[in-house]
């Protein structure tokens, strides 16, 4: 009897794959030169220190080698990337003031509806600039600041920005951190005062519309002592035949006994090079919780990093990566234990199908000062077919004897027994497999707010939709 095989379709991205004409937008020339960087700086009305910072970063970019590990990024030619695209509008605080075409984009992505129903504030970036930013009055009344980074640079927290901007992720960190330092634009600044708990999440959504463009938003969040925040980041783009680049940067400062949950559903189009850098520094008794779903992009390098700097600081990373046809998604996380009694917990799932490549890559470093620290890493990978690839490349670097480090990983396929059991209960093979994959990714979906968990499960269901052949 011929063995039955499941054919799995590619995801239906029609919800995300629509595009607007960008003819009205202001753009800098393709490529990367000091003149372009100075032009961006002028457009952004940078303070002098920021202009100097950009030029210094460009110099570092030019002197830094490409990474010699990870997926190939040969298809990315910086000479063809437009690093700054400003839509023909200013930032608004009401959706009515946003131009119809852009407003329609975010309506189709469900952002205004989400804001009305389940968010405390929203920032919406279109290409290189924020077009909408708003925070609920009752949240602002608690002293919470949620604004675009450019405004913050000229506002009352300007000194705080200067003190924290690219201090966690310096331009010397790697080539694309340097690129970000040179051409960053857009992004959000959040400050949560001591003791304030923001009960409902804030969200930033990043939409890259222009073909051949780069998006380099910078997210800077400071959660002060004993405060709490849940921040959600979403992103998407229409698919073009030319490479687009996302080299954003996220810097999170989590104060003493504070907690920050940072959730991301990444759904860039499959021509995107997603070379994003995210990092958190956690002080005494604080906690950072990363929840990460990676579904889009052609190539991803994405490893959120937690630096546990204070006694008893904690990090949790929960992630799922789904790599389909034409995708090479290299994802994972990094944790540095720098203080006593710190703990980290990593729990990831990756799924590969239709020739997709998923790689889990991690590093856990336990320094000499991190006495009595604990770390547990668990990663599981699922191969849906025999033309895909799934790699697991963890690293542990332990420099104290007073630590307890555990690591486990497993790669396998969907259990025939499980499929058989579900089919014996009257479920079709296709449904059974989709159900098993959704269950496999439950570690992430159960950590997301309900609306986002549903969206993630729909994405998985669409990915798994197919026919038995």
């Amino acid at each position: 009897m011929a063995e039955e095989k499941t054919f799995v379709e590619d995801v239906d991205r029609s919800r995300y794959d629509f595009r607007n004409d960008d003819g009205d937008s202001y753009k800098v020339d393709e490529g990367l030169t000091p003149a372009i960087v100075e032009q961006i700086s002028r457009e952004k009305n940078d303070p002098d220190w920021m202009r100097d910072f950009r030029l210094k970063s460009l110099d570092i970019f030019n002197r830094t080698d490409m990474p010699d590990w990870g997926p190939s990024i040969e298809g990315l030619n910086m000479e063809n990337i437009v690093t700054y695209v400003r839509p023909h509008t200013k930032m608004s605080a009401t959706w009515d003031e946003v131009p119809a075409e852009i407003k329609d984009t975010f309506e189709r992505l469900g952002i205004p509806q989400a804001e009305r129903e389940s968010l405390a504030g929203v920032g919406a970036q279109y290409d290189s600039e924020l077009v909408y930013h708003n925070v609920k009055a009752e949240v602002a009344a608690q002293g919470v600041i949620y604004t675009d980074l450019e405004s913050a640079l000229h506002g009352p927290k300007a000194d705080m920005i200067r003190e924290h901007f690219m201090h966690l992720v310096p331009p010397t960190d790697h080539k694309f951190a340097a690129l970000h330092g040179a051409v960053w634009s857009g992004g959000s600044f959040v400050y949560v005062p001591p003791g304030v708990s923001v009960e409902i999440p804030l969200q930033s959504y990043f939409r890259l519309n222009s073909p051949g463009a780069g998006q380099f938003e910078h997210t800077l969040i400071i959660v002060d002592e004993n405060a709490y925040l849940h921040f959600i980041e979403g992103c998407s783009a229409p698919k073009y035949n030319v490479a687009n680049l996302h080299a954003g940067c996220v810097e999170l400062y989590v104060g003493k006994n504070a907690t920050l949950r940072y959730s991301t559903i990444e759904n860039w189009s499959k021509n995107m090079y997603n070379l994003n850098t995210k990092r958190a520094r956690v002080e005494e008794g604080g906690k950072v919780e990363w929840v990460s779903g990676s579904f889009g992009s052609h190539v991803s390098y994405l490893y959120p990093m937690s630096v546990l700097n204070g006694r008893g600081a904690k990090s949790e990373f929960t992630g799922v990566t789904f790599a389909g046809a034409g995708q090479n998604l290299d994802t994972g996380c990094k944790v540095v234990h720098n203080a006593p009694d710190t703990t980290s917990y990593v729990n990831t799932r990756s799924i590969s199908k239709s020739g997709g490549i998923s790689t889990f890559r991690s590093a856990v470093v336990v320094g000499p000062k991190a006495e009595n620290s604990k770390s547990a890493v668990s990663c599981q990978s699922l191969m849906i077919d025999d033309i895909s690839r799934s790699d697991t490349i963890p690293a542990m670097d332990i420099r104290t004897d007073k630590a307890d480090i555990g690591h486990e990983a497993r790669i396998g396929r969907i259990s025939d027994d499980a499929v058989f059991y579900l089919m014996s209960r009257g479920i079709s093979e296709e449904e059974a497999r989709a159900l098993i994959v959704s269950g496999f990714a439950e570690n992430v979906s159960k950590e997301l707010p309900l609306e986002y968990a549903l969206e993630m499960n729909n994405l998985i269901r669409m990915e798994m939709k197919g026919a038995i052949g």
Binding site: P67, D68, W69, G70, K334, R361, A363, P368, E371, S381, M383, I384, D385, D386, S388, R389, S390, D391, T392, I393, P394, A395, M396, D397, I398, R399, T400, D401, K402, A403, D404, I405, G406, H407, E408, A409, R410, I411, G412, R413
Partner: protein, 343 residues
């Protein structure tokens, strides 16, 4: 003149800042190590000047072949169907400075052999390159015991290929020397071929151990069990890169890797890179690692039985290495090593 080499390059690189994508080593080999040989009946031997298996991939890398270009190569063969009961004992004395040796074990179909390689002495650099070619249903049990003098830099490289139904069992113990660079790459090419790698070490002072172990599954229903256990004390350093590579076509393959590291002092450093590369759907790959100190509940229990904390650590450290020692397929060597440790 010393040769500069980048040894132990893994099959997949990772973050550059970890400095684990290969290790730069400078070494020279000028002499052939003195060899004492206990050759059981049925084993053929030949000495060559050229490397008998130059194309076989090894764990440390091709540069070890160049490093050992000037030493004699010993080729041991077992004819088809011959099952050699007594072990082939090879004791190498590296007492002359900068010495090396190269061995090749070639087992024809349905043959069996046990080999005990014992490395002693040593000044400056000692190096050994070993290759093993196993025919259908052949079985090689190979034990390598490194108990070199203090201060010696030791380079140990191994490459093997296993045909249908063959089994390569490796036991490796690192007990001496100053810096050990230990590579091992096994190609599981035949259907149902298997390898087992058991490695143990006990390091103290400023000793350094840098390992790169690979099991490359290309044959169907192949199996690999990689088990590494060890103890780090004082300012010692250990790096293990352990890779299970499940290549397209190896349907039904299983690869398991387990590591257990006991850390005895706050000045030790342990790096572990347990990698699974997978390009086949119908496979299972697992790895697990436990790194750290002893469980407090275990210590509490043993202390309540009257043992001192230091004695508990010593006992548990010995237990880890002894477990690997006992898997050496030669009671004489096992007895000798356990006796040595007990002294």
């Amino acid at each position: 003149m010393k040769m500069e080499m980048k040894l132990n390059k893994p099959l997949a690189n990772t973050y550059g800042w970890l400095h684990v994508n290969g290790t730069l080593v400078e070494a020279v080999v000028e002499n052939t190590a003195a060899l004492r040989e206990e050759l059981p009946a049925g084993v053929g031997v030949e000495t060559k000047n050229e490397s008998p298996c130059p194309a076989l991939k090894t764990g440390a890398g091709t540069e070890t072949a160049a490093l050992l270009a000037g030493v004699e190569k010993h080729v041991y063969t077992v004819a088809a169907g011959q099952k050699i009961a007594d072990p082939l004992r090879l004791t190498l004395d590296f007492s002359a400075p900068n010495t090396g040796a190269e061995f090749c074990f070639s087992l024809a179909d349905d043959s069996e052999l046990t080999v005990i390689l014992d490395y002693t002495g040593g000044v400056d650099t000692a190096a050994v390159r070993t290759t093993a070619v196993l025919g259908k249903n052949a079985r090689l049990r190979l034990a390598q015991v490194q108990r070199l003098n203090d201060g010696v830099t030791f380079i140990s490289d191994l490459g093997g290929s296993v045909d249908d139904g063959g089994t390569l069992s490796l036991s490796r113990l690192v007990l001496g020397g100053e810096a050990t660079y230990d590579g091992c790459s096994i190609a599981l090419e035949g259907t149902g071929s298997a390898c087992a790698i058991d490695a143990g070490y006990r390091l103290g002072g400023t000793q350094k151990l840098d390992m790169n172990y690979e099991a490359v599954h290309t044959g169907k229903k192949t199996n690999c069990e990689m088990r590494v256990a060890g103890v780090l004390a004082d300012k010692s350093f250990k790096l293990l890169r352990g890779t299970i590579d499940l290549r397209r076509g190896c349907a039904g393959a299983v690869g398991n890797e387990v590591e257990d590291v006991l850390l005895m002092d706050e000045t030790v450093r342990n790096q572990t890179i347990p990698v699974i590369l997978c390009a086949e759907e119908d496979v299972v790959g697992n790895h697990g690692a436990t790194i750290g100190r002893l469980d407090e509940q275990l210590i509490y229990y043993l202390e309540s039985r009257g043992m001192e904390r230091d004695a508990i650590y010593e006992m548990m450290a010995r237990a880890r290495v002894d477990a690997v020692t006992r898997r050496i397929p030669d009671p004489q060597m096992v007895q000798e090593l356990l006796g040595e440790e007990g002294e």
